[in-house]
Symmetry: C2
Subunit: 232 residues, 2 copies
């Protein structure tokens, strides 16, 4: 299964921006929520910083390595399916010709209207295979060199995002005063990040800013309540 999002042409952001968005969304949200949650339960900033850094390490590695393996697996899936199409085009060409015609029949074209395309593809097996990959299976050729860069970008964005809510806990003396600063800087960061994300992804920026801040606040609020309930 394709585990990385499908890329299409109207989309203005690059793959790197997409990876930064993926990593920073979670990096800003989960360490923030964890730190806020622990503030309701423990009275040492040291433990909160330790837990936060452990979470940043765990989350960035899980996301980065997960992204790397997903990209690798997509590339292998593509190669496997391409081998299969190649075999089918060579061994059962008439079946494949029928499949080309079926792709177009879904759009109201008759068999006669699709005939020239079917015949033309038949003469060029390589193009025929590529055509089937894209139009029958809806698969885009993944760039295998992207896997490592993608993993590092996601992990780096997660770490960068995670340090924003955690820094106040490294400076302040008590968890409750750190929480106030953490909420302020993180809400600010979520709004700015959501706004920029909206610009790149085509969602209205102000709405994207508010949605991103809402996710962070809800997660942090729930973590805070749960931690406080347990520790009472």
């Amino acid at each position: 299964m394709p585990q990385t999002p499908h890329i299409e042409r109207h989309f203005t952001a690059t793959a790197v921006v997409r990876d930064i968005v993926i990593g920073m969304s979670d990096g800003l949200t989960v360490p923030f929520a964890l730190a806020a949650g622990l503030t309701g339960a423990v009275d040492s900033t040291g433990i909160i910083v330790t837990a936060g850094l452990a979470e940043i390490a765990a989350g960035s590695i899980a996301m980065g390595l997960g992204g790397y393996l997903a990209a690798k697996s997509d590339a292998e899936h593509y190669a496997k399916e391409r081998e299969r199409e190649k075999r089918e085009v060579a061994e059962i060409p008439h079946e494949e010709m029928r499949e080309v015609a079926e792709v177009f029949q879904a759009y109201g074209l008759t068999e006669e209207e699709t005939w020239p395309i079917v015949q033309a593809l038949r003469k060029q097996p390589k193009n025929w295979i590529d055509f089937m990959m894209r139009f029958e299976l809806g698969l885009e050729k993944p760039d295998p060199r992207r896997a490592v860069l993608s993993a590092l970008t996601i992990a780096g964005a997660y770490v960068a995002g995670g340090f924003i809510p955690l820094t106040p806990y490294m400076i302040a003396h008590t968890p409750s005063s750190a929480l106030l600063f953490s909420v302020a800087v993180t809400l600010g960061a979520l709004l700015v990040f959501g706004f920029i994300k909206g610009r790149f992804t085509g969602t209205r920026p102000v709405r994207s800013a508010l949605q991103t801040a809402l996710i962070g606040s809800t997660a942090a609020g729930a973590a805070f309540l749960i931690a406080r309930l347990i520790s009472e």
Copy 2:
């Protein structure tokens, strides 16, 4: 930008399985790594359970709500692009006809060979728009009703996954004895989950099992080392 993975036909798993995989991958990994990390730093299972539950709450809400908003945003993106194609087909049909021909020219077809398709689509504007959405832009129509179900499935799988590494800390008396049980049950769960995931996604099951366990172990190992370094 499409924030949810692209779905294609050779793929055997359903969207629900995909959501379970997304939620459980992180749910098994991050709370496990956090608990293991804190074991190197604090001597109370209570704090580890509190931090773990706060993380499960934060992570499941961030992933579930994030998935919901991404699905909503995909649906809006699709609707917006469709409106644009509809307008273009009505206002600049010759430009759009050229774009249809270009899609096929990339596969080595001549303008004459694509002519019947272009003419046939021209007579059926609705099919023409659908054709452009899929073949020019590579966009699949998202199911708007899936957003809520998808969010709940991802969040539920995250919670279910997160309780596996955390349960030993709720039962054992010391963090270090809990860690042994947590590593054992979580590695077992990661192997089983990775194996099943491989079956559904087309990766070789044994390899998928080992990869999934590797991600969990690496994340937990890094979290453990970082937490121990800080707390010394």
